[in-house]
């Protein structure tokens, strides 16, 4: 279990984390989402004790990471795919890490096979693609057979095969009862992998809820209805659990009713309908809506 308690981090005058609290439970995959610059990587570095918080604290299995006797057996992490010296071979990199953590060389070879790098174990990391470095990073994270795993943007650079492999791996780790925290700035990937979402923006918590909850909230299903007699149509449709809003003259947005029901009611009352468009609310859109006001960097729409 990872517990983040009121974390605050300033770099100079810049506030990166601003009173962030959440808990990562074992036995499920927790997706850690936020736009670029939201503070995801910073949070992970603070959890791993690599950076010191300005205020607040983070614990892993009840204790600050640095206080564990065998830290890599407590929490495995992938913080930066490039974090291996380019001049060292994959095997030497893992062996050095294993030696520092008191882990056997046999385990190193086991993991090289598991992540599919055994054929390039003696190649220098500098020749690796980003996807291969991600695999090496994932091997490093799992070296100590840790009870908790924390991966920062592990999907970056993986090919479709690798993405599916990682997805299955994460699900399996969670099924084994481990705590799994995976960051991403892509909602779509998380909907396929995560059970639970922690969404942050500008260093603050925006949402901490089950994926289903988020999907339900986001994807109620909106139908756009075009009608020259919008007012009459609206009166026909409103009711408990149904919201109708006017986008512009002659265009309604209806949520809570599906297109067939709307069409049937309109036909029954003789209200003309010129267009009926079910708009499957995309989770990506919902995520962007949710984080819009918390984005550090935003592209300007012309």
């Amino acid at each position: 279990m990872i517990d983040v308690i009121d974390l605050e981090k300033h770099y100079g005058r810049k506030t990166v984390l601003d009173g962030l609290s959440f808990m990562v439970e074992p036995g499920r995959v927790t997706g850690f989402l936020g736009p670029n610059g939201a503070g995801k990587s910073t949070t992970m570095r603070l959890i791993a004790g690599l950076d010191a918080p300005t205020r607040g604290r983070a614990t892993v299995a009840g204790h600050p990471y640095a206080e564990h006797d065998a830290p890599l057996r407590t929490l495995g992490m992938l913080l930066d795919a490039g974090a291996a010296h380019p001049g060292r071979t994959a095997r030497a990199h893992l062996r050095a890490l294993a030696a520092a953590a008191g882990i056997s060389r046999r385990r190193v070879d086991e993991l090289l096979t598991m992540v599919g790098l055994e054929a390039v174990a003696t190649s220098r990391v500098g020749r690796f693609s980003l996807g291969m470095r991600q695999r090496l990073g994932i091997a490093s994270a799992l070296l100590g057979d840790p009870a908790a795993v924390m991966l920062d943007e592990p999907v970056n650079g993986l090919d479709p095969d690798g993405v599916r492999w990682l997805r299955e791996l994460l699900r399996q780790l969670a099924a084994e009862g481990r705590t799994v925290l995976v960051s991403s700035h892509l909602m779509s990937e998380m909907t396929l992998t995560a059970d639970h979402l922690v969404i942050i923006g500008r260093g603050r918590l925006i949402a901490d809820e089950p994926l289903e909850e988020f999907v339900r909230r986001a994807g109620g299903g909106v139908v756009e209805v075009r009608s020259p007699d919008a007012t009459a149509l609206r009166d026909l449709l409103v009711g408990p659990g149904v919201t109708v809003s006017a986008r512009e003259a002659g265009l309604l947005e209806v949520s809570g009713l599906d297109a067939e029901v709307i069409a049937a009611r309109a036909a029954g009352a003789g209200v003309p309908v010129h267009g009926l468009t079910p708009r499957a609310a995309s989770l990506e859109q919902a995520f962007m809506d949710l984080t819009r006001d918390h984005s550090e960097y935003r592209s300007v729409r012309s």
Binding site: L72, A83, A84, H85, A96, A100, A101
Partner: protein
């Protein structure tokens, strides 16, 4: 677990080309520099260089190689972000610096002990009748001082590399302290220049007091500073 930290640093040292090259360069510079200088002295009898100093001239060049060795052992962590793994494995951090220092000191001492006597004997052989023997007055302290100087300067490399986290900046800084600072301070006074780490290192070979303690003080101060900041800074 301390042993594991040392073992990890050992694996790291020998799995990169550059530090291994620096180790080889240290030995080659020590021997070749000594032999070539002895040769030059043998051919021009009027050169005012003693036989011991001539054969130890290569150590002056080997200093640059051990600076590179010490610095790289420290900075190769930062150039690649590897330091995050290193500190994730050893969150208390200080054992990492200690392991690096022990390893660099040990490797430098071994290379020095193997090549400094070779440089001396080869140099004296080149000098022929003007050469001196291993047991002659001042010879053993000179050889020990040569090895000690290399170890001290290599450790300065580790400390400054840890402080600056950048190979070019750290190599530049240590080489300036070793090779340039003494000359600059000479313009003030030779007594002041003796306190520069480079001059202290050189004098360790001729007169260990007070040169050796001065060099040691520099090393200890730099390592303590490096350890202090290592604990406090974000990785």
């Amino acid at each position: 677990m301390r042993l594991g930290t040392l073992k990890a640093e050992w694996v790291k040292l020998w799995s990169l080309r550059a530090p291994v090259c620096a180790i080889v360069a240290t030995g080659v510079a020590t021997v070749a520099g000594g032999v070539l200088t002895a040769q030059a002295v043998a051919e021009s009898p009027r050169m005012a260089v003693g036989p011991v100093a001539a054969s130890m001239e290569g150590v002056q060049y080997a200093r640059f190689a051990v600076v590179v060795l010490g610095v790289l052992v420290a900075t190769s962590e930062y150039s690649s972000g590897l330091v995050r793994w290193t500190f994730a494995a050893v969150p208390t951090r200080l054992p990492v610096l200690a392991a690096k220092a022990v390893l660099v000191a040990g490797v430098t001492a071994v290379v020095g002990l193997m090549t400094v006597p070779v440089a001396f004997l080869a140099g004296q052989a080149v000098l022929g009748s003007r050469g001196v023997g291993l047991g002659d007055a001042g010879v053993p302290p000179a050889l020990v001082g040569a090895v000690g100087q290399l170890v001290g300067i290599a450790l300065l490399g580790v400390a400054v590399g840890t402080l600056l986290r950048n190979a070019a900046a750290a190599v530049g800084t240590v080489i300036a302290a070793v090779a340039i600072l003494p000359g600059l301070l000479d313009t003030v006074s030779a007594d002041v220049a003796r306190f520069a780490p480079g001059r202290a290192g050189e004098e360790t070979m001729t007169d260990a007091w007070p040169a050796a303690p001065i060099l040691l003080a520099w090393v200890v101060a730099a390592l303590v500073g490096a350890g202090y900041l290592l604990r406090r800074r974000d990785a």
